[in-house]
Symmetry: C2
Subunit: 341 residues, 2 copies
Amino acid sequence: MRGVVMHAPGDVRVEDLPDPVIKEPTDAIIRLAATCVCGSDLWPYRGADAVTEPLSMGHEYAGVVEEVGSAVTTIKPGQFVVGSFFASDNTCEICRAGYQTSCVHREVLGTSGGAQAERMRVPLADGTLVATPSLPDADLVPSLLAASDVLGTGWFGAVAAEAGPGKTVAVVGDGAVGLLAVLAAKQLGAERIIAMSRHASRQQLAVKFGATDIVEERGEEGVARVKELTGGLGAHSVIEAVGTQESMRQAIGATRPGGHVGFVGVLHDVEIKGDDIFMTHVHLHGGPAPVRRFLPELIELIVNRVIDPGEVFDLELPLDQAAEGYRAMDERRAIKVLLRP
Amino acid sequence: MRGVVMHAPGDVRVEDLPDPVIKEPTDAIIRLAATCVCGSDLWPYRGADAVTEPLSMGHEYAGVVEEVGSAVTTIKPGQFVVGSFFASDNTCEICRAGYQTSCVHREVLGTSGGAQAERMRVPLADGTLVATPSLPDADLVPSLLAASDVLGTGWFGAVAAEAGPGKTVAVVGDGAVGLLAVLAAKQLGAERIIAMSRHASRQQLAVKFGATDIVEERGEEGVARVKELTGGLGAHSVIEAVGTQESMRQAIGATRPGGHVGFVGVLHDVEIKGDDIFMTHVHLHGGPAPVRRFLPELIELIVNRVIDPGEVFDLELPLDQAAEGYRAMDERRAIKVLLRP
């Protein structure tokens, strides 16, 4: 089968790879309906994460089950499924508390064959995968794919930030996750949603998803602008969807005392000083989104056409043109690139 | 009147000071029934915080109102009152959300005359002070004084850590705040309470306050021991009541994924790495305890003799012997020293 391999920063190739096979009786093999390039794929692409050996890329997936291991009981061949980027048993105490990405049996997907390919192996299939009620219409596939990571991650950011009725929510970051955090805050009932973005096309999508205010300023100026919009207090809920020192400081600074920061951008070389969280009285919570917690609800919203998160895909390419997809995301020509195997 | 002044690290004197006077119409003057030395007073005493000018010490107080300003409407002369170490209006949006220590009009007490004195001025009296239902019996005074800071702070730590029914709670720090966090966790219904302490007398008080387990190990070993006691997962709720880099790491490490760290030790030169909060999935919340939020409830529990937090005072001295009180706390001969003006 064909699949994407990163050999070095900036060097992404589509190659012939061995077909995945069932290794554990709890595995499933799925044929991907669609996959995509993640913002986090850009860290190694840009050399910010080391590439010490060829990497099989991709961890976002939706598709049809082709085969299941002998111990798989609920997931069946022929079903259309969506899963998260970490496999989880969904039965341990941590999963039951809603933190499937910290499951005691979790496995990172992609380590033995990534999702940017024609087929992939998914471990702990019963715990990891959620089937749609029936085979979805083709136009729903991008949204279901978005649920696999960027929607689920933005949603977790909004939940971690306790976005809800009566709340003013600010979103730091206008990538796919930040934009879908706007959508999530809207669905969760937030009264006012401030999107921090300086790109016209992303601002437009933010407004479409529910943003009521746009702040173009960043850093200290961005913080001052959010305070100005909130009676000098700051937002109740701030979602951090970038992962840098500057964006984290911006998120904490824009939050009112007693407010909540939900951080979902993968933190890179971030250090938080005690003073930044002690005297500010903010709540901090985040990490790798437990997407599995939200998947049943997100799938329902998508198949009932209540939300259309697939709109974040503004470039679609055949899998064989993955290298161009990476370039378009790296140069910020595309918000998010969908790849068709 | 007599009052405590710190002239330099280790140099604490009781001196004749001018009597406090009403400066703002919202002020009250109270005569202290009792005051005490705080763990945070030891930071300048030990030279960890600079002493650039003589400091009027003390911020924990309970006593009788002698005089009120013309704008004070609810607090009246003759009432016995307890207040917090930050004055607050208790009416702004931040106060109403329960964060009175971040009140938009907050004032740090002690800057114009500390509580380790015969009398003190309390700004924003109506917002800051809570009166007891009637003049309390003398034996209740230590507990009411404890409510002013250490009990309220331990209580906030337990609330911030979401201690409650079905939860396993661990407490890092066996000072007065840590011990009263044990008491708070017990009152909030925690199922199991692990006190981290290696001092026999403090362990005894922890058990009396509700601790079910004692862990003597610290740092990585302490974390490992808490995990061992919790099926490998860590505690649901961890209260950090020290404020150092090591204690904060210990608190985060002892918390299970999805669990809550409530930190109330004043953080000194603490830096939290992104990885410590991203992959661990902990919630972090803390800061200067909004004691005012809890005072009505705490006073009720004390006057009804449901709790006896005054037991943390294991040394009582006349105000004039304050220097010996500081030495006893510094050398850890006393958990907490009560001073009688």
